[in-house]
């Protein structure tokens, strides 16, 4: 019987391997397709940090990735897999948009708080529904969360392109929010806003809750070992519901940060890829809240770099899908078989 080769277990192996391969892939693509590889490579590696504007945008991406990845990580740690992140971000952002475009009597801060709350609740509903279905109907949350998001995304598309649309422009987007109703920006004119600070705070909050509290302890144990949790007197199924609800809530919040911070309005498909990137970042960070910082940073760098290289060199294709794919492909690798063995 064939064996898989000597296992070399290392927690960081998959992370480094996948990131390294992502970088390598982009470099190869650049080398093969760019007219001026040296320049393109430079803009790939240094572009994201080459000016305040770039730095700001990269850090803003980090903020969004942090919140989304946090949502994914929380779901994983609770023993579930939230595959509906994209839709939860989208619907969350839509809900926030509705609030920010209504209630003219509210002050800016109150409106923002309300919008954040609404986006959180909408995401929580979507995630929580999957959690409840898993608990009571034995329905796989992977499938239900994905299908729910897939079903609601066109609804959001319609609303943005229809009732909510800014008729004065030609974009499929809502009108821009009032200046008081956009999150304060830290590094204008880049899109970096206080969402970064909130994101960092959220990561620490989740870290403390998960690792320093009684409920957090039980949450982690229930997610990692349902049998053991039952033995200890706190059966796992209840925690599935908490995990999916919290995960959905965080994704919804990411939607809020995107519309109220990054964009200042809601355009169709604004959540594009953020959900999948969140999964990639969470896996790179091994679902550990504090490890999400370097993971999000690296991933944002990779993404911003490849986007920048695209613009700079006139590369024709979508590198971000490739980057996400190769990272996801390699990030869960657990061992590297001894080289030289036949497949």
């Amino acid at each position: 019987m064939k064996r898989a080769g000597k296992a070399r277990r290392s927690g960081m192996w998959g992370a480094l391997f996948s990131l390294g391969s992502g970088i390598l892939l982009i470099c190869l693509l650049i080398l093969f397709t760019s007219n001026n590889p040296a320049d393109t490579l430079r803009s790939f590696f240094l572009g994201p940090w080459s000016s305040p504007w770039f730095i700001g945008n990269t850090l803003d991406m980090v903020a969004l990735l942090l919140v989304s990845a946090l949502g994914v990580a929380v779901a994983f740690r609770g023993g579930t897999f939230n595959l509906g992140g994209e839709g939860q971000i989208y619907i969350g952002g839509l809900g926030a948009t509705v609030v920010l475009l209504s209630f003219p009597s509210l002050s800016g801060t109150v409106a923002l708080l309300l919008a954040a709350l609404v986006s959180l609740v909408l995401g929580a509903f979507m995630g929580g529904l999957s959690g409840l279905l898993k608990r009571f109907a034995r329905a796989d949350e992977l499938i239900t969360s994905f299908l729910l998001s897939a079903a609601l995304t066109p609804v959001a598309d319609y609303v943005i392109a229809g009732p909510l649309r800014d008729k004065s422009g030609s974009l499929l987007a809502s009108p821009r929010f009032a200046a008081t109703r956009i999150l304060p920006h830290l590094l204008p004119p880049s899109s970096l806003s206080v969402s970064l600070l909130w994101a960092i705070a959220l990561v620490f909050l989740v870290f403390i809750l998960m690792n320093r509290t009684e409920s957090g302890y039980r949450f982690r144990v229930a997610g990692a070992s349902p049998e053991f949790a039952r033995f200890g007197g706190f059966p796992a199924p209840a925690y599935w519901i908490y995990a999916m609800t919290a995960s959905g809530a965080l994704h919804g919040l990411a939607g809020f940060f995107a519309v109220a911070g990054t964009y200042g309005l809601c355009h169709q498909g604004f959540s594009g890829g953020l959900g999948w990137s969140g999964i990639a970042v969470a896996l790179i960070g091994r679902n550990e809240p504090l490890a999400l910082f370097p993971a999000a940073l690296m991933f944002a760098w990779l993404k911003a770099g490849s986007d920048g290289a695209l613009l700079a060199s006139g590369l024709q294709f979508e590198t971000s899908a490739f980057v996400q794919a190769i990272i996801l492909l390699l990030v869960t690798v657990r061992f590297v078989p001894r080289l030289g063995r036949s497949l």
Binding site: E214, S215, Y217, S225, E227, F228, F231
Partner: protein
Amino acid sequence: MDILLRNVTKYFPTNGVQALSGAYFELRPGEIHALVGENGAGKSTLMHILAGHLEMTTGELLIDGLPQVFQSPRDAIHAGIGMVRQHPVLVPGFTCWEDALLGIPWPALLPLDRRLARQRFQELSDRWGFALDANARTEGLTISQRQKASIVTLLLHQVKCIILDEPTAVLTPVETERLFALLRKLRSDGKAIVLISHKLEETLSVADRLTVLRQGRTVATRLSTETNPEELTALMFGDAVDRHQLEKTESAEPVLPRSIMLPKTEPSPKPKEPLLQVEHLFVNQKDFAYLRDLSFSVLPGEVYGIAGVRDSGLETLELTVTGFIKPLRGSIRLQGIPLQGRGPLAFRNAGAAYVSADRLGKALALRLPIIDSLMVHAHRRFVKNRRFWPRFLDLKAIKYWAGELMSLCGIQGRLESPAEAFSGGQLQRLILAREFAEEAPLLVLAEPGWGLDASGRALLQERLSKYLKEGGTVLLFSTDVDELIRLSSRIMVLRDGQNVLELVVPEDQVQRRLVKPHISAAMVGTGTAKEEIREVLA
């Protein structure tokens, strides 16, 4: 086909156990050869090696004089050797004939003649008197039916040697007799049968030859007509050394003296209030053996052992008492607090600790840091603010406590290392230590001997003695009669879900030996009419 195993040693690095240290076994066609010895002697290990499930560390296997190496059970079946386990694993959701068909060399895409396959199975079953329905689903089979289905499968694969691993431990006497009749038929057909057992009388009634293993070594081989239970017992326990002893090798593992006595409190003259009281317990849970009108009580300070074969309701009772299974009727009271149907947490809170039989699966979180597994009960005591959510844990105190636990077990390691980084033996010790640390009035201990290496057993003896001296009470579940006799002050035998025998364990060694067969007999007594049980439970 002549089979010879020679100079076989087997060492398990994961828990440092030397299971075999010089075993010798010879098998001829057309004989029933029994392999006897007490628990841990290495009988199962040796046969698993012969059947290709394990590889020997050193030694030789010769078939018809030619050396063979089996790297998988498949190789063994190819060579004509197959094993029937006590609890055979069949593919769930398949019918009997579908399961039997797996593995028979047949071109993958050639259409199966389902009718023919079904017929062949049914024919074999009928020919040997199995009374099996080829179309029956595997999940619905009883243990003895599963064993028979496995035998049919082996016959379909045309094996010439069949190994049976303690089959009768889970069979009623009637089923045992039927099995033996079948074995005799197979023998006259030229097959070689190996019967692993630790029940001497019944084994002598069917075997032609017996080989005795003790502490991983072969000590003797005898013809069944030329020996008796007393001599075999002596050989098994080492009071007599056989002059025909073969292949001496150094034993690598010191063994605990068998007669360690636990300090047992004298039964006091006036009747004490029972610590745990179970009354008229009825359990009918899917996939578990039922319990019928079971009553017993455990007095403070004693070690109450419950004996039974695995399917007699032992596991069911263990899980019901500890709160994992809800009984249909009846009451369970610990220190006067009613617990039936209230779950594992209520059981613990009422004053109990629990070491389950399935330790590594249920009692640990393998991938999390070991400290998370250690603090599963204690964490409730180390909470900083009780009043409002979130309740923060005093991590410094917990780490200190866990560190103490680790050094108590003599284990060096970081608390952040995942549980799976520790060896099986170390984990078993930690689990024991964790439960003892609860200092609960009642300790429920299931299958204490399982999975423990020498240092683990020593730790268990030490902690148990200390615990009992300090006034603790133990409820013991075990399928191992010797272990029960050694540790308990009172024993109850569970069979078919009922309390069939209860006795006080004598202090005297000789009397203990006499009492043992009674207990074993009670464990596999006559079958109970299933209709009566259904009536009562309806």
